[in-house]
């Protein structure tokens, strides 16, 4: 027997399976000091211990058998199954918009291997059609798997490749782009694409899901339908994030790629526009703009692709008593740009000043953003702020720290000239800096307050 027969087993458990010649996917009868058990041996997850054997019993449940209790074992049958999502041809409908779905590796639609619990992604149009047949009523879909990386591994290489591919698709005359993406770094990619793909004539929609589609309560199908609708039928030709509006299955939001942030580790409605109002709501019926000043869809193909990125850029999240050696270390390591997330209006403490001076002298570009996420830097208000500006830190207004990080990387990919860097950074491409913060751009209401609770009770949010 080769190792393949004991998927995931190691140590004691592996020895036991070998001793009794029982394989994964084999039907086994096991005698233990706790009584007899019967079932199909399942693969064991790599991270679990080596003291248990996993069985699927006849009622469909999984159980673990303690290797220390086993007195005998016998394989009575063997049946390995292979799983595949059946392809169904995606129907082409005359008159529907052409959409290209670009895959990055994040799983939006998927199917479950019911025996192991492994998620098998659905990606080709045929597979997607099998999983979300409603998509055929929205668009004519083609797909391209650009790479297969987890959300947290998305980086400059992927941003550039995406931007170039999208440029090509626009050239070929596609009506809209949808990008499937894990949610963790969805907003970073959205910001990067906003800077790298300028003047797009068509919508570019990033979409993910907070609940994988192997769950009946998944948000994946609805998010996909919303994204396809926005990309194919919507009039907003910008880089946008499309995710749940409220936690209820009601509508999606379209967020501007530069002002959006994941704000809850697990909620469906985790993506919020910060310091502004969302671009639009979207349902299967169509896109309803909330903001009126969006960039509309055009017939031309005059897109500008700017795939640049300097990787030696970082974010420093300031905390009280931060020591100057943190900054020194970054400079020594060759970092060319630092985004600081400062306290309050954009502050850090005096002991850091010498380190800031040293960094500035070495030509490191430093921009100040705020940890509060909402609001602008105001470095003129206090002396400390004025000191910092004198030492070379440039306030980045109300740019979100992560957006500022992406933008600085993109900027330094083009130039190293301090004045030019400052000009590019402070000239908004799509609202990463806004002139005004609307009064309703900061709505963090608190539960427990009578009028808020009344609102929550009446409206499904």
């Amino acid at each position: 027997m080769s190792e393949d027969f004991f998927q995931g087993y190691k140590g004691e458990a592996l020895d036991l399976l070998k001793k009794y010649q029982v394989r994964v996917w084999g039907q086994a009868e096991i005698q233990t000091t706790r009584g007899d058990f019967k079932g199909t041996v399942l693969p064991r997850s790599e991270n679990d211990d080596d003291k248990h054997i996993v069985l699927k019993i006849i009622t469909g449940y999984n159980i673990g058998i303690d290797t220390g209790t086993v007195t005998g074992m016998k394989e009575t049958g063997y049946k390995k199954a292979n799983y595949q999502i059946p392809e169904k041809e995606f129907p082409i409908t005359e008159g529907l918009p052409k959409i290209k779905l670009l895959g990055t590796g994040g799983t939006i639609a998927s199917r479950l291997d019911y025996r192991t619990g492994a998620v098998i992604p659905a990606f080709t149009p045929g597979e997607l059609y099998g999983a979300v047949p409603e998509l055929a009523d929205i668009c004519n879909l083609t797909t391209d798997k650009l790479f297969a990386v987890f959300s947290e591994n998305m980086g400059p290489e992927q941003y550039k490749k995406l931007a170039i591919s999208i440029g090509e698709e626009i050239e070929k005359g596609i009506d809209g782009i949808v990008i499937g993406h894990g949610t963790d770094t969805l907003s970073h990619t959205a910001a990067a694409l906003t800077f790298m793909i300028q003047n797009s004539p068509i919508p570019i929609v990033l979409v993910g899901s907070q609940r994988s589609s192997d769950r009946p309560s998944s948000d994946a199908a609805l998010n996909l339908m919303h994204a396809m609708t926005a990309a194919g039928h919507g009039d907003i030709a910008e880089v946008m994030v499309c995710m749940f509006g409220p936690t209820s299955d009601e509508y999606g939001f379209l967020h501007r790629g530069t002002r959006v942030r994941k704000m809850h580790s697990s909620y469906r409605s985790t993506f919020r526009t910060i310091g502004d109002i969302p671009l639009a709501t979207v349902t299967r019926k169509g896109v309803v703009p909330i903001k009126q000043d969006y960039k509309p869809r055009r017939k031309d193909k005059q897109v500008k692709i700017m795939p640049y990125f300097e990787e030696k850029v970082t974010i420093v999240y300031y905390y009280p008593n931060m020591q100057p050696d943190v900054i020194d270390a970054l400079v020594d390591a060759g970092y060319k740009g630092i985004i600081i997330a400062g306290t309050g209006l954009g502050h850090i403490n005096k002991p850091l000043y010498p380190a800031i001076e040293r960094a500035h002298a070495k030509g490191v570009h430093m921009f100040m953003t705020v940890q509060t996420l909402w609001g602008y830097t105001h470095m003129f208000v206090y002396d400390t702020g004025r000191d910092l500006m004198a030492k070379g830190i440039i306030p980045a207004a109300n740019m979100l720290p992560e957006t500022a990080y992406i933008k600085l990387g993109w900027t330094l990919g083009q130039t190293n000239d301090p004045e030019e860097v400052k000009r590019i950074m402070l000239t908004p491409i799509n609202d990463e800096i806004t002139e005004r913060e609307p009064y309703n751009g900061y709505l963090i209401y608190q539960g427990g307050v009578k009028e808020v609770d009344e609102f929550v009770r009446k409206v499904h949010k």
């Binding site: 009584g35 469909g60 159980i63 199954a81 209820s248 929550v456």
Partner: protein, 665 residues
């Protein structure tokens, strides 16, 4: 379509119903014997659900066991359940059916009992260890083989009763056994699981749930289908419930224990009767379900004899115009006014089937109607047919409909109505159910009613709906943990239960008695001092419990004082009932002399004569103040006057006899 009483048609649905009932050999349960059940192959198994007594829910830190009124909520969340692809990349039966219904699910939440976990916005927290330990203890008591590692599994539920669309559940033990009077019943498994939402309403396309119960820890004990008559099912059920309660670590009261009962007849199908609220309903429900299946097999036989190739059977339908008929039937008037569609269906060869007996008071047409409600969301009444006892489709109506549908003399017709968008599903549902009639008994879950009948609830989900929970790590159960839990087990629970039952102690006291381990005290005192164990059990189980709930416990109180108290009363030859009044005082002041306790409750020792000599006087007084001279009233009144004085000095039965005798003198 007006209420037309006279039927010119020679077909008499009532007579057909009675005739088919006989053919099925249906007898009421009272007349049924083991032979009755053997003849139709009665087979039944149980899934007994029991809530565990924990402070918190199973996978989050919300409190368990707090409930709210349906209108008392802080927020509503709306979800839709979407079927997921099965192993073969297809949607399974239940999934499709639930999706067809396109229900909008509304969850009403209250902050006090619901966090973001319940509404599927937060992954599960580690499993509640208190709950897990209780489940292990009960598994040990049920003689199950305890697993080496607990794997949390997801079981899909698409009805919306759980917002995630699946229930987190895990096996604790497999292959156990419980002893009944005449046989042992084998157990398949015991699992721990999170409880589901409580349904508030289900009307049209909207189903409303509340989330207070959602996530509470529950165990499910599953038996093999070893029971061969309805009484055995109830006996097994009672046994499992008592066993669970004997630990004192499970919840009691409304909804804390619920049963799903699986029934099949010879050649039938395993049908699951869900959520039986009261054990006492079980015999009637299982009896009727077994006969329903027997009747469906009879129907199959009849249909198969009519159609050689039944796979080719097809129904036909035609949309009707409301104006074609004179409509007096109220639901149709409403349908017309709300712009609904009206459709007539012809069911070839179904004459005599529509009014075929299925359950007491129910016929085959009800099987169709029940499904229309659940699958197509058509509220009842949702159909008319040609074999109703009180016909609404008249011969005049039929003159219009029959030619349109090309109906033959051996066919049955029905009429359904509803919103246009539901009609496609409605027609599919009718055809599907009729085709199933050729196959026999559909696999389904059914909802139970107190009168012993059931209605269709859902299609029985496929085996595919189980898969591992990727949000939870497996939990090892070491020998040390199990040994430790075994030590705390009441070893002779079963014997004690049976003993209490035999003594006739009220069942409502068992939980308290076991929880406080008072059985040994009852046993010892009753034997040592010759006190009726029934009286003593009830005294302790009801009175002691009540006193504990209402008075502050004085320093030094322990349950042995009960023995001192009863011995004192016996010695003094006082009536034991005095203990009821003395106990609260004694509980609060355990060091008080028993004589002083008597004084504090204003008890005065009296000789029997002292009491009975007042009877004549009272009898005279009664004559002067009362209009009635019935002897009963006279005795009652005198008893009322004397009972206080008699309390503790002389038994009331005894006094009653004396009064009665004196009056008649």
């Amino acid at each position: 379509m007006y209420n037309y009483q006279k039927m010119e048609n020679h077909f008499d649905p009532r007579a057909n119903y009675e005739k088919t009932k006989k053919e099925v050999s249906y007898v009421p349960r009272k007349e049924a014997t083991q032979k009755t059940y053997d003849d139709i192959g009665f087979m039944s198994g149980l899934e007994v659900h029991q809530q565990l007594l924990t402070d918190k829910k199973l996978f989050c830190n919300c409190p368990a066991g707090r409930f709210h009124d349906s209108d008392d909520y802080d927020a509503e969340v709306i979800r839709h359940m979407r079927p997921t692809l099965s192993e073969l990349g297809e949607y399974d039966g239940t999934a499709l059916m639930e999706f067809k219904t396109r229900k909008e699910i509304v969850y009403r939440l209250k902050h006090q009992t619901t966090c973001t976990y319940e509404v599927d916005d937060t992954p599960p927290f580690p499993i509640n260890r208190q709950a897990l330990d209780i489940a292990i203890e009960i598994s040990l008591l049920s003689k199950l083989n305890i697993v080496g590692e607990v794997h949390i599994t997801r079981k899909q539920y698409l009805d919306g009763s759980i917002p995630t669309g699946f229930q987190r559940t895990a096996i604790i033990g497999v292959e156990g056994e419980i002893p009944l009077k005449n046989k042992n019943v084998r157990l398949i498994q015991l699992s721990i699981e999170e409880d589901s939402c409580r349904e508030i309403s289900d009307i049209g396309h909207t189903r409303v749930y509340k989330t207070d119960r959602l996530g509470m820890p529950l165990i499910e004990t599953v038996t093999y289908p070893d029971m061969v008559n309805p009484d055995e099912v109830m006996e097994a059920c009672n046994y499992i419930r008592f066993l669970n309660r004997s630990t004192g670590k499970v919840r009691v009261g409304m909804g804390a224990g619920r049963e799903d009962v699986n029934v099949s007849c010879k050649g039938g199908t395993r049908v699951e009767i869900k959520g039986v609220a009261h054990t006492k309903w079980i015999p009637e429900l299982t009896h009727n379900e077994c006969f329903r299946q027997w009747a469906l097999l009879k129907i199959r036989e009849k249909l198969q004899s009519k159609f050689a190739d039944y796979k080719a059977w097809e129904m036909s339908h035609g949309f009707l115009d409301f104006d074609m008929f004179e409509i007096t039937y109220e639901p149709l008037k409403v349908a017309k006014d709300s712009g609904e569609k009206l459709v007539a269906v012809n069911l070839p060869g179904f004459k005599g089937i529509m009014s075929h007996f299925t359950q007491p008071g129910k016929m085959f047409a009800d099987e169709i109607s029940d499904r229309l409600k659940v699958v197509a969301c058509l509220e009842k009444p949702n159909l008319l047919h040609t074999e109703q006892f009180e016909p609404i489709i008249t011969d005049l109506d039929l003159d219009i409909i029959a030619p349109m549908l090309n109906a033959g003399p051996d066919d049955a017709q029905l009429i359904v109505w509803g919103p246009e968008e539901d009609m496609k599903t409605a027609l599919e549902t009718i055809e599907e159910r009729c085709k199933m009639a050729f196959e026999g008994v559909p696999e389904e879950t059914r909802k139970s009613f107190e009168n012993g009948t059931t209605i269709f609830e859902r299609v029985l989900p496929g085996a595919d709906r189980m898969y591992p929970d990727t949000d939870s790590a497996p939990i090892p159960l070491t020998n040390e943990v199990i040994d430790e839990l075994s030590k705390g087990l009441p070893t002779d629970v079963v014997a004690r239960y049976n003993q209490l039952k035999e003594w006739g102690v009220a069942e409502s006291t068992y939980n308290y008695i076991f929880k406080r381990n008072l059985f040994p005290i009852i046993d010892t005192i009753s034997k040592k001092h010759k006190i009726s164990p029934k009286w003593l059990g009830n005294f302790i189980g009801h009175r002691m419990k009540w006193v504990e709930g209402h008075f502050e416990k004085g320093e030094g109180f322990n349950y042995e004082i009960i023995e001192d108290l009863l011995v004192f009363l016996k010695k003094k030859n006082y009536n034991l009932k005095l203990a009821y009044k003395m106990l609260p005082v004694l509980y609060h002041y355990p060091k008080m002399e028993l004589e002083s306790v008597l004084t504090s409750i204003k008890f005065k020792e009296r000789q029997q004569d002292e009491i009975t000599e007042k009877i004549d006087f009272l009898s005279e007084k009664f004559s002067s103040i009362c209009y009635s001279d019935s002897t009963e009233n006279r005795i009652d009144w005198i008893m009322g006057q004397l009972s206080r004085m008699a309390y503790g000095n002389m038994g009331l039965e005894n006094l009653y006899q004396v009064v009665k005798q004196k009056i008649s003198e």
